[in-house]
Symmetry: C2
Subunit: 211 residues, 2 copies
Amino acid sequence: MDKKQRVVKEAAERRNEILDVAEELFVSKGYDKASTNDILERVGIARGTLYYHFSSKEDILNAIIDRINSSLISRASTIAADTSIPVIDRIVMTIAALNVDTDIGHEIIDQVHKPQNALMHQKMLHNLIEGIVPIIVRIVEEGNEQGIFHIKYPAETVEMLILYSGTVFDDDYDESEERSANRIKAFLHNTELLLGAKEGSVQQAMSKLFK
Amino acid sequence: MDKKQRVVKEAAERRNEILDVAEELFVSKGYDKASTNDILERVGIARGTLYYHFSSKEDILNAIIDRINSSLISRASTIAADTSIPVIDRIVMTIAALNVDTDIGHEIIDQVHKPQNALMHQKMLHNLIEGIVPIIVRIVEEGNEQGIFHIKYPAETVEMLILYSGTVFDDDYDESEERSANRIKAFLHNTELLLGAKEGSVQQAMSKLFK
DNA sequence: ACTCAACCGACAGGTTGTCGGTTGATATGA
DNA sequence: TCATATCAACCGACAACCTGTCGGTTGAGT
């Protein structure tokens, strides 16, 4: 009765089905613990079909990451391109677009930061940084020209800020509310220092957005 | 002929033998690819023996990381405690003790930064940061009192610096000589900004040490 | 001659990736 | 309009690993 009945679909559609399920599983159980068997059972396909569409389990992981990142980056680009927004606000908004809960983003990012998902985490971060740094650098340079910022090494500094923001907001290890709030205050303060921005200017943009 | 002949050793000695071999293998092949079979063959023991001394493969990984980190941290502590060294020099030296090639350190750290070793990498970094940040913070606060630094959030800032230094010196992904040199210059410059130190003071200490 | 820490290896139950074979949607031609 | 050929998509058995368990063995010290 529960015999397999063959259902044929277009490759692109099947691929996405697989990615949807795999994403769900990788996130909830962790990349290592989620087996390819779990995936193909949930999708309702046979082993051979999975490996017809993907060459390996890691290949699936990479495809998922690409999917998430290109979505995040396109969102960020849109904001970054809107020159009607003041520079500082635009930077805050662009970065916020990466971290604040999006359609899928939030849950994933929470889970991804578990130690069990180290590989996934690292790949995402690396991949994301590569895409996002140039976008922010362009805004920062705009700020330099406007005399709002005074920054000597834009690319490296932005890299540092993004990297830190991406790693530090992993609340995988529990910490007190107070400590966490302190971290954010410190981060904003240090951002101002590094960008050579007026004291309080970043904080202001931040509180303006999340009031 | 190649029958197993039983050799009995003290537990501590066996444990270290296993850790030595496992470290070698994890580093050269990556944690995932190195199998427990590889380890026990190389050590010359049976499966049961391995699991007599360690409860799981990950348990072995954790033991290795503890071993490396406590060695690194004790080295760093020694330097940090020597108040005869000027504050800035002492900070540079302390951090250098973590990154510069040590007995084992260098090779390992090179390899650990490969994507295949994401879990190991993350565990080391996390563990290391936890140990090293308080040590450096104490020196930084000393600098604050001496009026050399002017820093508002010592703990958070040091965390940021260490985290960045630990990540940025992963030369896993290839980059030009020039880009890499630039990164270091930028890092030193930003360190001065964050610490509120006199411009050039950190660069000076750095070049004094590695001339 | 007893005890028990250290050791052994077979085994259960999992994993990923491969491969020869099958099926059905679509194109072709009579 | 109906037969048939083609090939992308699919299937599931299987090989070759993997980790962790467990009942039994051994030998060094008392």
